[in-house]
């Protein structure tokens, strides 16, 4: 029983991180139909910035965390303005290539600045102690991960549902021309979308760094899993992405616990391929066929 409990807690904990990355991707995809492969590296750079602020400038964890979110906001906006905006009538392939290019640039910059060394990312919560109801260990880190992810998700859902800006973003996704005609500043909305998504990713990065390590390859795996989770949920559905993230974390952890630890990270993609074969647009989205 205890093993099952541990696996569930671990799965939900890593699943929360996947869900946040997935949400960050979905925010961008929902608004501009760009599959953002640079998401992981954006989060990685932000986490490195937080690390530098703590180590080199001696700022506290919360201060540097807050400043990092500001940095992430700027980073997302800058990337959108400098790379996505100049592309004229981009096809889906050129969009993918642009974000892959951005990924390579950010990855190279991080490698250049911080090297390939694995750095420790210190957080004021313990990874080892916590509460253990019914023999299942829930560490402080797990609790913070759950709390932060749930709060952020709730914020995002409310934001898209009830604010003017959130509604404007949905409008831009559904019909950019009509949105423009209605007086929505579409270009600024897109920039803001990237900024918001970058912040969400940065939060995920700072939650992942303490339990994994801090190096330029840190976000590669979570980014792919987050992408897979987003695809599982359907790429355009925020709740779908969140559920997809948790589901993927659980599946992966249970596979690792019961079948094979070595092939733990492969199973996620196997699941994705199988599910996409059955439901080509993910679990929670109706399949939409483009008209001629």
């Amino acid at each position: 029983m205890s093993l099952v409990g541990d696996l569930i807690i671990g799965g939900l904990s890593i699943g929360a991180c996947y869900a946040l990355v997935a949400l960050a991707m979905v925010i961008i995809y929902k608004t501009s139909e760009v599959p953002n492969f640079a998401q992981g590296e954006m989060a990685m750079i932000s986490t490195f910035v937080a690390y530098t602020m703590m180590e080199s400038y001696g700022l506290g964890f919360w201060t540097s965390g807050a400043l990092t979110l500001l940095f992430a906001l700027g980073l997302g906006a800058v990337l959108e303005i400098s790379f996505l905006r100049p592309a004229k009538n981009p096809t889906i392939l050129s969009l993918i290539v642009i974000t892959l290019g951005a990924e390579m640039i950010l990855y190279g910059l991080a490698g250049w600045r911080w090297g390939a060394m694995q750095l420790p990312f210190a957080v004021p919560f313990s990874e080892y102690s916590g509460i253990s109801p019914g023999g299942v260990m829930i560490t402080e880190m797990n609790m913070w991960t759950f709390a932060v992810s749930i709060v952020l998700m709730a914020f995002l859902f409310l934001f898209f549902r009830f604010t003017t800006l959130g509604t404007a973003m949905k409008a831009v996704q559904q019909n950019p021309f009509a949105a423009k005609a209605m007086g929505i500043p579409t270009r600024r909305i897109l920039t803001f979308t990237w900024a918001l998504s970058s912040v969400t990713g940065a939060v995920a990065g700072m939650l992942i760094a303490p339990v994994s390590t801090l190096d330029p390859n840190m976000m590669l795996d979570p980014m792919l899993k987050g992408f897979a989770a987003a695809v599982l949920g359907g790429m355009t559905s925020l709740p779908g992405a969140a559920i997809g993230g948790y589901l993927l974390g659980l599946i992966e952890n249970f596979f690792g616990g019961y079948v094979s630890l070595e092939f733990k990270s492969v199973v996620a993609f196997g699941v994705i391929v199988v599910i996409l074969c059955v439901r080509p647009s993910g679990l929670f989205v109706r399949h939409y066929v483009k008209k001629v």
Binding site: Y29, P35, F83, P86, A87, K88, P90, I92, L93, S94, I96, V97, I98, L100, G101, A102, E103, M104, I105, L106, Y107, G108, L109, A110, G111, W112, R113, W114, G115, A116, P216, L220, L224, F227, A228, V231, M235, E262, F263, S265, V266, A268, F269, G270, I272, V273, L276, C277, P280, S281, G282, V292
Partner: protein, 429 residues
């Protein structure tokens, strides 16, 4: 020459067209030209229907400046375009005697090449040739069929490992093992192509990416494939002759690359190649024209995987060693970058892209040794970055090239070449 007389439309069926279609047109069909300072109007017959009854009006926008400056004879403007007069011109392997001559010259240069350069240069050229094979294969899938693959490092790995394993464990000779590796890879390509029938865009990207990751993971954790340590390549023997020099490897790799390039050009000129292009341009229209989508899409995946598998097999011998760690996502992205940089839908572009990026990859690893830039970058590294991380500049340059190409020159190096060619063909004007 063309006289400037007014051509009266008989049916009155005049429709304005985009000038870029002029590439397909032939001055022989152009009946009349009216040029004023503001706009150029050409009455012409469509070369395919060849009917004089449906003249089209071109109102120039961008190309106007290039082709239709007032007073420029149209024949010269026509010569600057790619003309096709009949069906056989479309299927010819060499478009003209000039192309044939250039090809022969290039092949001659390849034969003469090893007599003039050292072993290291040959090694670099080998890598370029191998990457060119991959780029051509990937271009068939991405540039011609319009699918997306971020998993070609997986096919590369499958090719490399099956070639080595077939030789080491099953005792196959090289000349059998290499094509066999290609076919094994093609089989996996076919299998990956099956789910891709229902997927497109980001969904296809993530499915292929997952495939690539899975292949690397499985190979690096399996005893049979040597785990993380990888495998040593066996001695490369053809018959009883053991090839162990750079020149020998060069000969084998270049010969394979040439054969595969010709095969690709040929394939793309057949019904199969045109079916690929039709699928890229519009799946629904292609299906309506009687193209079997499932067959041709999976076939495209299989052909692409075949090329990549063969390249992987050759790579095992060029490096003398295979290890799972090198077949990562970055490699898949690099392959895609070669295709994009070279030019989508162009075999020659793929070769150019592979050459440029492979050369850059090797040079940027040792950028600190480049005279002026190296010292400058070292100084920048010391002040703002870290000196030991300097080789990472390769990623930055690749990323910047990819983005710049997509934004400024979507046709890649092939597009630059086409524009230069056009410019010089009508040069004095």
């Amino acid at each position: 020459m063309l006289s400037q007389r007014k051509y009266q439309s008989q049916s009155g069926d005049e429709r304005p067209c985009d000038l870029s279609y002029l590439q397909e047109w032939n001055p022989r069909h152009i009946n009349c030209l009216t040029i004023s300072r503001r706009k150029s109007i050409i009455h012409a017959r469509h070369p395919w229907t060849d009917s004089a009854d449906c003249p089209a009006i071109f109102q120039g926008t961008y190309h106007e400046r290039l082709f239709f400056e007032p007073g420029v004879p149209l024949a010269i403007a026509g010569a600057a375009m790619d003309m096709k007069r009949d069906y056989y011109e479309d299927v010819e392997l060499f478009r003209s005697k000039t192309v044939l001559a250039a090809t022969i010259l290039f092949l001659g240069a390849l034969v003469a090449f090893p007599f003039f350069v050292g072993g290291y240069t040959l090694y670099v050229v080998n890598l370029i040739a191998i990457h060119a094979i991959v780029a051509i294969g990937l271009n068939i899938l991405v540039g011609y069929t319009g699918q997306i693959s971020l998993g070609h490092a997986g096919f590369f790995a499958i090719g490399a490992y099956s070639c080595v394993l077939l030789m080491v464990k099953a005792g196959f000779p090289f000349v059998v093992a290499l094509p066999a590796a290609g076919f094994i890879s093609a089989l996996f390509g076919f299998l990956l192509g099956l789910p891709s029938l229902r997927l497109e865009g980001p969904y296809l990207a993530i499915a292929t990416l997952g495939f690539g990751m899975a292949v690397t993971q499985i190979i690096s954790h399996s005893e049979f494939t040597g785990g993380h340590m990888g495998l040593e390549a066996p001695p490369l023997a053809i018959g009883s002759y053991v090839v162990d020099t750079d020149v020998g490897r060069y000969a084998i790799i270049i010969l394979t690359a040439i054969l595969l390039t010709i095969a690709a050009i040929n394939l793309l000129k057949t019904r199969v190649g045109r079916a690929f292009v039709a699928i890229r341009d519009s799946e629904i229209a292609a299906e309506a024209m009687g193209i079997n989508l499932s067959w041709y899409k999976t076939l495209s995946f299989a052909v692409s995987a075949f090329y990549t598998g063969i390249a992987g097999g050759l790579m095992a011998f060029a490096l003398q060693h295979v290890s799972a760690g090198s077949f990562n996502l970055i490699l898949s992205i690099t392959f895609l970058a070669m295709v994009i940089v070279g030019g989508l839908g162009s075999v020659m572009g793929s070769i150019l892209g592979a050459a440029l990026l492979t050369y850059l990859q090797i040079k940027l690893q040792v950028i600190q040794e480049v005279p002026v830039i190296g010292a400058l970058l070292m100084e920048v590294s010391k002040r703002y970055f870290s000196p030991e991380g300097l080789p990472n500049i390769q990623s930055i340059v690749f990323g910047a090239i990819m983005i710049a190409i997509v934004i400024f020159e979507p046709l890649g190096m092939n597009g630059i070449y086409l524009r230069m060619k056009r410019y010089w063909k009508s040069w004095p004007f």
